[in-house]
Subunit: 333 residues, 2 copies
């Protein structure tokens, strides 16, 4: 039988109202009373009914993280970091996989119906930026990723143009001139934004960009990178370097290069984007753009919690995640 509030009150020798005040963290309670009630709660293993309690205090201390794909290591690592950052603040993160489906993304923008969640961190892929910006979200919502929503939603992202410029410039600095790009068709604006940085770097070095070296692929997975790399090797004049718009594409490309008996970076230098753990342990280890995921997680959670409590700045926030270029064996082995 579940312990009731009145059982706790009886054991602590206080009123039910006092127990309720302690549970709801009201400020005007003496530490003596608080300790007495807490001891009774512990002794009886009393579990407050949080549905009811949340309705009173207006918070559940749960937030949701909506990502396109759990099985993508970048999102999995990011989800783990956001979960840890929230836990430090007493908040539980529940993660929802949208698979980039329009209906699932709409469900997020609509505030996940009545689910007891205080706010949402959302990485959209499918929904048009205009719709996101115009969304009249029922709950505080923070956007991750390339899509600038305009509107008034908080937003946290890497400067992908600059990062892609740096990745490409690194390959140019190694003396490479036929530098391919894999992933130019990527979702959520990723493909076009990163291509802008890639082309900008080529232009700055006086290298004309060659459309034959820009591959869209069908997705951002290892198999897409492997297939795109096969296409590149079939060209009359294959590339001497490849900038892949995420690490999974790069790991797929490396597999194709191994199958073809080509040396990395001797024949083809490879750079990725994301710095997932897989790339650090791969042979050769993968040179990549490393966004500071801990920084991203800490700041996304802090901004969202400010928004939930109403203590943040009134204006929307637009935070740029710091990154570094990690040079490893795939360009310097």
């Amino acid at each position: 039988m579940a312990t009731r509030l009145s059982d706790v009150a009886a054991r602590a020798g206080v009123s039910v109202k006092t127990v309720s005040n302690v549970i709801n963290d009201y400020p005007h309670i003496t530490s003596h009373t608080r300790a007495k009630v807490q001891a009774a709660i512990d002794a009886l293993d009393y579990k407050p009914n949080v549905s009811a309690r949340s309705l009173r205090k207006g918070r559940s201390d749960f937030i949701a993280l909506a990502i396109p794909e759990m099985a993508s290591p970048y999102f999995a690592e990011l989800g783990a970091a956001i979960s840890r950052a929230a836990k430090k603040r007493g908040i539980t993160v529940l993660i929802d996989q949208t698979e980039g489906e329009a209906a699932a993304e709409k469900f997020i923008l609509d505030g996940m119906r009545g689910q007891l969640i205080d706010g949402i961190i959302f990485s959209p892929i499918t929904t048009a930026p205009a719709r996101i910006g115009a969304a009249d979200t029922a709950k505080p919502l923070l956007l991750l990723g390339e899509r600038h929503a305009g509107g008034n939603l908080d937003h946290v992202a890497v400067d992908s143009v600059q990062a892609s410029f740096d990745a490409t410039t690194h390959l140019i600095s190694l003396g490479r001139r036929r530098i391919a790009a894999i992933g130019v068709g990527g979702g959520a604006g990723t493909g076009s934004v990163r291509r802008r940085g890639y082309r900008k770097a080529l232009k700055a070095a006086g290298i004309e960009h060659d459309p034959a070296l820009e591959l869209a692929g069908t997705g951002y997975h290892r198999e897409d990178g492997a297939a795109s790399m096969r296409d590149l090797l079939a060209l009359p004049e294959p590339p001497d370097a490849v900038f892949c718009f995420n690490d999974l594409l790069a790991l797929g490309a490396l597999r194709t290069l191994a199958d073809a008996g080509l040396s990395v970076p001797g024949d083809v230098a490879v750079v990725g984007f994301d710095d997932i753990e897989d790339g650090r342990f791969h042979s050769p280890s993968l040179t990549t753009i490393s966004p500071d995921k801990e920084w991203l997680a800490e700041n996304a959670v802090a901004v969202l919690l400010d928004r939930i409590s109403g203590s943040g700045e009134a204006d929307r926030r637009d935070l740029i995640v710091p990154y570094t270029l990690k040079i490893r064996e795939s360009t310097s082995g």
Copy 2:
């Protein structure tokens, strides 16, 4: 301004009670009325308040999946599969990362407080089996993984003893005799259960097990596998094969072997466990035990939903996940 039930009723020309009946899917409504109300709901973009609605119908159509680590590819792939399996049935999965912390696992066993969730799929690591079996969970709870809870909780797991026997027997069939095991100290009973299968296979082949070849490591990550492999290579008589108790350990071990200039499988053959995507694309690709994750996801969701609706068998279910041994380059390259 949010649309109210009365707005929908006015537009559809029916009573508020009728709108409520349609929203709650009561059976005695004519299809004509249902269509009229649905048209009004669509026209006004009415969003039912699901908190209130859930309280009435007693369901939220959300379930939780509690896993130790999101960033572990096995759990990420499993989470993705469970999310897909649930979505086919109109259920949203919210994922909670416990990091194996006792407090976080207790929180799950206690039913996640009042969160609007119909049931929980739980992969425990820290909590003792006796406590899990004795848990008086507030909500239907299904266990994943090695720990047989006894008690009356449904349970879905691979037969790890048999799978480990098969993996080790495969290495023996290649003529290997000094077969090491990495991960014997793994959490949730995984280490001891898989070691049982490993030793059983050695014994069946008349090979005495050598404690120096059984490494516990400090975790189940790539870095642990890399470190354990370094320890094995430092032995007076290093192994000619390694069975790693998950793929991450195996991928770490492969990195150490590459650094040491040893050939795989020529010098050392390597087998993993889990069949994560990383191992399929690695050079060499990884031989591994491949549990049928889709089967696991489909059945875990189906059993839990039966339990939630009360339509399942009264007795606890104990399902064994099918698996295959995928032979790839790390043992046959």
